[in-house]
Symmetry: C2
Subunit: 429 residues, 2 copies
C-alpha cells in the first residue's frame, strides 16, 4: 500500500491527494473519468483534521486525514496521528455491530493517518438541521440502535473478561484524545484557563460562580475519575450532534477518533446534552414567538425517546442471552433467579441513567464556558439573547450534575428543561 510505513507521513494537499487516489485502482474506478477532472474540495469544519470531498464522473468519496496538531488551535498544540488508527479501529467495530449506521470505509493508510469513506450525500450535520428547526423522524430509532448495540456488545455483558481486557488494551494508546476530554470538559471550564471563553460580558458572573462552586467541582471531578477509570464499553467518545449526519430517512455516526473503553453514560449523555442545547438555543433562533414550538416539543420528546429506547434496547440485548462474564446466568436459575436478575438489570440501567445525567450536564457546561462552542448557540447573533439561552442551559446542567439523584427518570430532565424555557436569568454587564 502506497506510503503505508511509519515515517511516510506527509500532509496531502489537493494535488498530492489527486495523485494518491489515482494510484488506488478501486477508488479510481469508483470516482470514474480522468483524475484531472475530479473535483476536490476541503470541507473540514471540525476542530482536528483535514476533510476532502472528491467527486468524479462516477461517484464521490470523503477523505479524512489527521494533522499532527489540533486544527482549531494550530501547530502549538501537537496531537498524535495515531488517532486515525483508533478511529479506523472503532469504525470497523461499529460497522460490525451497528451495520448501516456508520460510513463505509473504502481505504485506510496507517502511515498517512488517512481514511477514505463513502460520501454521505445528501446527509447534513445534524446540528445544522437542528439550528434550522428540522425534525428527523429516523433519528431516535437509529441512534438508540447504534448506542445500545455498540455499547452492549463491547461490554462485560457480551465479552469474556479476557476479550474485554485485550480490547481495553487495544485502545489504551489513544490517551492524547482522552486528555482533550479530561482537560476541556472536566477541568478547564471550572477554573481560569486561557482557552476558556463565554458570551461576555453577560455570562461573566455565571462563569465566576462556576469557578467558585465547590459542590460542582466535586461532582465534575467524580465524573472525570469515572471517565478515566471505568472501561465499561467501547465508547464513541464525542457523540454530539456534530458527529451525526442525517437525512429524513438515514442516520450515520461519524468521527469516532475519541473512541476508547470508557463509561457508557458518556456517549448517551452526549446525545442528550446536545439535544438539550438545541432546545435552549431554539428560543434564540425564533423570529416570531412560538414559531419553533413544534420543533421544540419534538426535541424534548426526542430526549425522552432517546433514553427510553436506548434503555429498552440495551435491556433486550441483555435479556436475549448475554455471553459475557458479568452476571452469569447460571447464578440466576429458576423463576426466582430470573426475577431477581431482572430487578438487577433495572437497577443497573438506573445507575447508568445517573451517569448519563451527570455526563450530559458536563457536556453542556463545557460548550458554554470552555474552548469548543457549538453553532446552536454561536449562530444566535445577538449576544444578550444568546447569553439568555446559555444561562438557561447552564441552570439545568448545574442541577443535573450536582443534584443528579433528583432526576430519577428522563421526564424529570425534560420537565425541568420545559420550566426553564422562558426563565429570565440575571445577566452581567
Amino acid at each position: 500500500m502506497t506510503g503505508d510505513r511509519a515515517g511516510d507521513y506527509r500532509i496531502l494537499h489537493e494535488a498530492d491527494l489527486r495523485a494518491y487516489l489515482a494510484g488506488l485502482p478501486d477508488l479510481k474506478r469508483l470516482l470514474g473519468g480522468e483524475p484531472a477532472a475530479w473535483a476536490i474540495t476541503e470541507v473540514g469544519d471540525g476542530n482536528l483534521n483535514l476533510v476532502f470531498i472528491v467527486k468524479g464522473a462516477g461517484g464521490g468519496i470523503a477523505v479524512k486525514q489527521a494533522l499532527p496538531y489540533v486544527r482549531l488551535v494550530g501547530e502549538s498544540w501537537p496531537l498524535p496521528l495515531s488517532r486515525a488508527h483508533y478511529e479506523y479501529l472503532a469504525l470497523s467495530r461499529q460497522a460490525q455491530l451497528a451495520p448501516g449506521l456508520v460510513p463505509a470505509v473504502l481505504h485506510h493508510n496507517e502511515a498517512l493517518a488517512l481514511t477514505v469513506m463513502e460520501l454521505l450525500e445528501p446527509h447534513i450535520i445534524m446540528r445544522k438541521g437542528l439550528v434550522a428547526a428540522t425534525r428527523y423522524p429516523r433519528f431516535v430509532d437509529d441512534i438508540t440502535t447504534f448506542m445500545a448495540r455498540t455499547l452492549f456488545f463491547t461490554s462485560d455483558f457480551a465479552l469474556s473478561a479476557a476479550e474485554k481486557k485485550e480490547a481495553i488494551a487495544a485502545f489504551a494508546g489513544n490517551h492524547a484524545l482522552c486528555k482533550i476530554t479530561e482537560d476541556l470538559i472536566f477541568t478547564d471550564p471550572y477554573r481560569i484557563a486561557e482557552q476558556n471563553r463565554w458570551t461576555a460580558p453577560y455570562l461573566d458572573g455565571l462563569a465566576a460562580s462556576l469557578r467558585d462552586d465547590m459542590e460542582l467541582h466535586v461532582a465534575v471531578s467524580r465524573l472525570k475519575l469515572k471517565f478515566m477509570a471505568s472501561p465499561e464499553a467501547l465508547i464513541h467518545g464525542d457523540l454530539h450532534t456534530g458527529s451525526i449526519m442525517v437525512t429524513e430517512s438515514e442516520t450515520r455516526v461519524i468521527d469516532p477518533e475519541f473512541a476508547f473503553y470508557g463509561p457508557m453514560g458518556f456517549d448517551v449523555g452526549a446525545v442528550l446534552a446536545n439535544l438539550l442545547m438545541a432546545y435552549f438555543a431554539s428560543a434564540g433562533h425564533e423570529r416570531a414567538p412560538g414559531e419553533r414550538a413544534a420543533f421544540e416539543a419534538w426535541v424534548l420528546e426526542t430526549v425522552e425517546q432517546v433514553w427510553n429506547q436506548f434503555a429498552r434496547k440495551f435491556l433486550e440485548l441483555w435479556r436475549a442471552g448475554a455471553a459475557g462474564d458479568a452476571y452469569p446466568v447460571s447464578l440466576f436459575a429458576g423463576e426466582q433467579g430470573a426475577a431477581r436478575l431482572e430487578a438487577e438489570r433495572q437497577s443497573y440501567i438506573q445507575r447508568l441513567f445517573a451517569d448519563t445525567v451527570g455526563f450530559a450536564a458536563a457536556k453542556i457546561i463545557r460548550r458554554i464556558f470552555g474552548l469548543a462552542h457549538n453553532i446552536d448557540f454561536e449562530l444566535i447573533e445577538d449576544p444578550r439573547t444568546r447569553a439568555v439561552s446559555e444561562a438557561r442551559a447552564v441552570r439545568l446542567a448545574r442541577a443535573m450534575i450536582v443534584e443528579t439523584g433528583a432526576f430519577s427518570a428522563i421526564a424529570d430532565v425534560t420537565g425541568a428543561a420545559r420550566k426553564l424555557r422562558d426563565w429570565m436569568p440575571e445577566l452581567s454587564g
Copy 2:
C-alpha cells in the same frame, strides 16, 4: 541470558537447576562453594508453581518457576507461563513503591518463567503463625504501608491518565490469572461446580442455602463486575496471609502473580478476610477454653488497625500532593476548596471501605465452599468443630456482602465478629 528466548521453556528439576544456577556468576558467588555441594529442596506448597530453596556455603536463594498448568489440579488445567512475567513486573514496581516489603529479585528468566529471589529466613508464612496463635507486632504498620503506597502510587491520584492507561495495558495480558479469581471467588461457590468442596455433611445445608440465595448472587455479581472493570490501581490480587512472610520484626509480601489493574478494595479486603478467618478458626484450635483469648483479641484489634492505618496512610499520601489527573488541586483552591476536597477524600475512602467489606466477604465464602481452602480451618481436625467455625465466618460474610451499608466503620465488622465468636449454628448431618 541462558535460555532467555521463547520456546526455550523446560521444567527445571534439581539437576537442571543446579547446572543453570552454576552458569550465573552472581548467583554462584552468592551461594558459594562448589555447585555439587548446594542443597536444593523443593518447598512449593502453593497451588500453582515449583519453588526451590537452594543453599550453599555462602548463602541461600529462593527459586520460583511457573508450571504450564495449575499445580493443585494438574496438567488438565493449563495456565500460561506469562504469569511469571507479570509477577516479575509487579514485584519490581512494588519494590520501588514499598522498599523492603517484598523479596529482592536477584535474577529473572522470561523464557523459563523463572525468578530467583532472596531467601527469606527465618520468615514463615503468616498463616502458619496465625494457626499457632503467634502475634506479629510489625504486621499492621508494614502491610498498611505496603497497601497504601502500592495502591496510591499506581492510581489516578498519582499517575497521569496516559501513564495509567499504559500501565493498565501492560497488565492486560494477565487475564488467565484474573479468570481464576472470577470463577473461583465470584462464581463457583454460588452454584453447583465440580471443584467445590466444604465440610460435609455439616455444611451441606448452608452450601445449598448459598446456592439459592439470590440477594447474595446479585451482590457477588456486582463485586465480580467491579473486579473485572474497575482498574483503580495495580493490585496484588491474592493478598491473603499465605502470601505474606513474617518474623516478629519483618514483613514481606510475596507471590504477586495475580497482579493487574483492579479495585483497591480487593487487596484490602483480602487481608481483612484472612484475619477474620484466623479469628473464627481460633476457637477450633484451642485445647482449653479461652487459652487463645489474647491472640483472638489481637486479631480483631489488627483487623481494625489494618483498615484504620491503611486509610490514614492513603489519605496522607493524597493530601501530601497528588500528582495524578484525578481531583486536580486547581479546582479546590482556597480555604473553602481545601475543606470541600478533604470532605470528598473522606467520602472516597468510605466508598473504598464498602468495597473492602464486600470483597472481604467474598474471599471468606470461597475459602469455605470453593476449590481452594486454607489451613486456618483445614487444620481443625474434628470436622464438626471445623464446620462450626466456618459457619460463624459465613454468617458474618453473608451480612457483609448483602448488607454492606450496615457496616459503616471497621468496628462494626469486628463487633459483629465478636458477637459470633460463640454462636452455635445449626449444622446438617
